[in-house]
């Protein structure tokens, strides 16, 4: 096959966006949608805490994390724009059913439950870290070049979540709330490691990602379960009893386009102003990430 010969000549690295075969482009798109949609939707959810977090300081910290996630989404959507898509195609005019984020990021927060925000952030950021590490040596240079920048911001996210978890679980009431958030969110966090479809196998086969989803899930379980357990939180007791991970998954995982009812609602809200103003394209207020680099 011409495309694979091309890839081998480049030492296993893929070319630029215009040089990809159809199969290669499909795999890059699959990967970028996973990344971008997760970050966008999680950032959108986090903003609901603005002016509602427990203190001014925690409000600023979470808002800042939300802004980081939007910034990361922008980097990944920009790679999709290489293929001719516009921001309107990718976000504002896209069918909510076409989004590929995991359901963890779309679920509404339990009203006023800060433990929900913190547990969600912890489960997500631990997975995000593994996922980014598996992209540092991606065969697609456009992607690999952007990973380091994102990784350095993610460190704060993990520390922030861990610091909060340690303190929330210091008392009985807090521990109970963390436990109940973990019970509710854990199955949806497992959805982070679900494939988008068959093209996800190509993401591995073409070296876009250097760790498979299964292998990352194992590493993630080895990270989060012992940490939560050290805080007195039992996140997935079924797993210790030998239950298959797949059986713990929620009905909708998001990755395959199946979402909870909360998602179309959130998407409608997120894009309402765009529609109300009768827009047909998204205004650009920042320079292209390539120009800013």
């Amino acid at each position: 096959m011409a495309a694979s010969t091309e890839r081998n000549e480049r030492d296993g690295r893929l070319g630029g966006p215009d040089e990809l075969s159809e199969r290669e482009q499909a795999a890059v798109e699959t990967l970028c949608y996973r990344l971008a949609d997760d970050e966008l939707v999680l950032g959108e959810r986090y903003t609901e805490w603005q002016v509602r977090a427990p203190t001014l300081e925690s409000d600023l910290a979470l808002s800042n994390i939300a802004q980081d996630e939007f910034g990361h989404a922008r980097l990944w959507y920009d790679l999709l724009e290489d293929f001719g898509y516009t921001e309107a195609d990718l976000i504002f005019e896209r069918d909510p059913g076409a989004f590929r984020h995991a359901t963890l990021v779309e679920l509404p927060f339990e009203k006023g439950d800060w433990a929900d925000a913190i547990v969600r952030s912890y489960l997500y950021d631990a997975a995000e870290h593994l996922r980014l590490e598996a992209l540092e040596n991606s065969s697609y240079p456009r992607l690999a070049d952007r990973v380091r920048k994102v990784l350095s911001e993610e460190r704060y996210h993990r520390e922030h979540a861990r610091n909060w978890l340690e303190r929330l679980t210091a008392g009985a009431e807090g521990r109970e709330r963390v436990q109940s958030a973990a019970d509710r969110l854990f199955p949806h966090a497992l959805a982070l490691f679900e494939p988008v479809g068959e093209s996800d196998a190509d993401v591995d086969a073409l070296g876009l990602r250097t760790e498979s989803l299964d292998s990352m899930r194992e590493q993630w379980l080895d990270t989060v379960l012992p940490f939560l357990s050290s805080l007195g939180i039992d996140a997935a007791p079924e797993l210790c009893e030998g239950t298959d991970v797949e059986s713990l998954l929620p009905e909708s995982v998001g990755r395959d386009g199946s979402h909870t009812d909360a998602w179309p609602e959130l998407h409608a809200e997120m894009t309402r102003t765009y529609r109300d103003l009768g827009r047909t394209e998204a205004r650009r207020i920042m320079s292209d990430p390539d120009d800013a680099e």
Binding site: T55, L56, E57, S58, L60, A61, N64, Y156, E159, H160, N163, R167
Partner: protein, 106 residues
């Protein structure tokens, strides 16, 4: 609990007080301070200090610098010195150095 925050822009410079954060302990104070005081301005390092650990003396309790005229403390008058004196001073210093060396040799 309130933690006073000091920001250093570049290595080697002084940490300058820039505000405070509310946090239950030292680690959370550092976590919050990074965002509240380190995200917009160039930052090389932040200190957080528990507010009760800061001691104060103000101008009600003390008369800073005293009350009598001590303008002689300011070296301003030297600005009006005849530059030739500078040579004289340099010569005099050189003489003293020589004398000192001779003494130690002797």
């Amino acid at each position: 609990m309130i933690w006073e925050v000091f920001r250093q822009e570049q290595a080697g410079e002084y940490h300058t007080h820039c505000g405070n954060v509310h946090a239950p302990d030292r680690e959370m104070a550092l976590t919050f301070a990074q965002i509240q005081h380190g995200r917009r301005k160039p930052t090389h390092s932040l200190w957080v200090v528990p507010q009760p650990e800061v001691s104060e003396v103000d101008d009600e309790a003390a008369t800073f610098g005293g009350t009598t005229d001590k303008s002689y403390r300011w070296v301003m008058p030297y600005n009006r010195v005849d530059p030739e004196f500078a040579e004289e001073i340099a010569e005099s210093e050189a003489e003293q150095r020589d004398a000192d060396e001779q003494r130690s040799e002797g």
